[in-house]
Structures are given as structure tokens and as C-alpha cells.
Symmetry: C2
């Protein structure tokens, strides 16, 4: 098995397990079992669990934003499409809220790399929304709606939080946008 293939398998397994069960609840041995990569190789690739966690978050950030970006692009950059995308996400089986918010909750004092990955993710999402909505304030308001809808959908299990937020966004965009 080539090093890059091992890395891929590890990150794939890490994402599935960490997102579904939480980082702390998943042992390195579970990652080994789920990835099929030996423990030795695992530690050669990621010297400590924190390194794997940080890599998991950074990869998830890239993929999550790419998915959102591409979806919104097919809608001609309509900011409301963001909320349609959220609705789809909330409805996926296994949806458990924002991985970054969950990780923030899990680690009282996160390792610096992990804290940075979380903050940078939110910064990038904010930047994306600002690119979609010229007015900074309005963009930030939509961001708040996005985060709120995600948290509530996770806790209540109701994907309709997305349309509630969508209606609010529509009003905000019409008033200020």
C-alpha cells in the first residue's frame, strides 16, 4: 500500500468515525480497524491522534466548502441556494451537525492546531458568504442564520430549520441586499 493511499484511507475512516461518534469516543484502534491500515503505519503517518484530528478537520473543511460552493454555483450564486443546500445536508442520514462546532464542544482547551482548524473553517465560510452577498453586514447575518439552523437541526433532528432560516434570509436580502 502506497503512503498516499494509506493517508487517504486513514482520513476517510477518521472522518466517518469521528463525525458519527465524536472524536473522543473513537479510539485509534477503531481507526486502524476501519481503515485497514496497520497501527504502525498509522503512527508513521500521523504521529499523534491530535495530528489525525487536525487533518480530518482540514480535509472536511475543504470538501464541505467545495460541495457548498459547487451547489451554489449551479444556482447562479444565489445566496438563498445556501439554505437549500443546508436542507439537503440536514436530511442526509447520519447528519450530526457541524463537525467543527462539535469538536469545539468536545475540547475544552483544544490543541493549537485543532483550535486553528476550527476558527479557520468559520472564517472561510464567512468569506464565502461575503463573496455571495456584497453587503458585509447582511452576509454576516446570513452566516448567523446558517450556524443557528445547523445547530438546531442537529439537536432537534428537524431539517425544516433550513427553510425557516431561508425565509429569514430572503427578508434580510430583500431589505438590505
Amino acid at each position: 500500500m502506497t503512503p498516499t493511499e494509506a493517508t487517504d484511507r486513514l482520513l476517510e475512516a477518521a472522518e466517518e468515525l469521528f463525525y458519527a461518534h465524536g472524536v473522543q469516543a473513537v479510539g485509534m484502534d477503531a481507526v486502524r480497524a476501519h481503515s485497514g491500515v496497520s497501527l504502525k503505519r498509522l503512527y508513521q503517518t500521523f504521529p499523534a491522534k491530535n495530528d489525525l484530528v487536525e487533518a480530518y478537520l482540514r480535509r472536511r473543511d475543504e470538501r464541505w466548502r467545495r460541495s457548498l460552493r459547487e451547489f451554489v454555483h449551479t444556482r447562479g450564486g444565489d445566496p438563498l441556494a445556501v439554505f437549500d443546500w443546508l436542507g439537503n445536508w440536514f436530511s442526509e442520514p447520519g447528519f450530526r451537525g457541524c463537525a467543527f462546532v462539535n469538536s469545539f464542544g468536545e475540547f475544552g482547551e483544544p490543541a493549537p492546531g485543532i483550535a486553528a482548524a476550527i476558527r479557520e473553517h468559520k472564517d472561510r465560510v464567512r468569506a464565502f458568504l461575503r463573496g455571495l452577498v456584497p453587503d458585509k453586514t447582511t452576509a454576516d447575518q446570513l452566516f448567523s442564520l446558517v450556524e443557528g439552523a445547523t445547530v438546531l437541526a442537529a439537536i432537534t433532528g428537524d431539517p425544516a430549520e433550513a427553510s425557516t432560516a431561508r425565509e429569514a434570509a430572503k427578508v434580510l436580502l430583500a431589505t438590505q441586499g
Copy 2:
């Protein structure tokens, strides 16, 4: 030491430690040390850590909502006062986001009592907002803003998320309320 005094001290210590550092990061021995209640008494009062966690959450729910309710009451029930209250909260030293959202993130599969405490807290906050804002949809939109502002203030450390959300709420209330 009377049993109720022991319970009070334990819950006080639990809240300070669990909220500040996260539940998993705080051992029962730290609760003992911080409360001054012996381990034996601790386990007589709360047979397992989960019971203490659930009691901590339920007590925090009561106090948090009472504080919000009383503040909004002094403002004549103005829904926008909610966001002023949030701004104060976000500015408090030691603010670390919503205890319930953090706990949700901490426990992949929470014990039933803990999951219920989290859900019930959100249900009650939603009910409070609906009492303030007759229109259900608008109330739910404000709820989304509240949750989003809280998450973002926690992660970015910027209390100004409260005023961003407040402006959005103002627009939503003017349009629909």
C-alpha cells in the same frame, strides 16, 4: 454538612468546572476537590457521573432562562432585548458558548437523560421566544439567530455577533412581527 448543602456545592462546582473545561475533561476527583464534598458523599448524592452531568444541565437551564427572562422583563418584553442580553453574556469572562450545544458535541451518543436535558432546554428557549413574538415563524427565525450568534461568538470570541444578530432580528420583526 446537610445533604442539600452538599448538593448545592456539588452542582456549583460541577457547573464551574464542566462549563469551563468540558465535561469529559473534568474528573470526579476534581469535582470533589472544588466542592469540598467527599467522594463518598458525592456518589451518595449522584450515583454516577452521568447523573451529575444531567443535574448540572438542568440547573443551568433553569438559571440561564431565568436570567434571560428577567432581563427581557425589565425591557417590557421587547424581543430585541434578548440580543442585548446575549451581548452581555458573550462579554462575560469565561464565556464559552452554549453549555448544551457543547455537551451535544461532546457526547456522540449521549445518555438518554443528557440527551433529553439538551433537547428540553432548546424547546423551552423556543417556547420563550414564541411567547415574546406572537408569529411562530418569526420567533423561530429569531431562535436561529440566537443560536448562530452564540456559536459564532464562542468560536471567534467576538461579542459583536450579538449586535449583528440584533440588527437582523430588527428587520425580521419590522417585516413580519
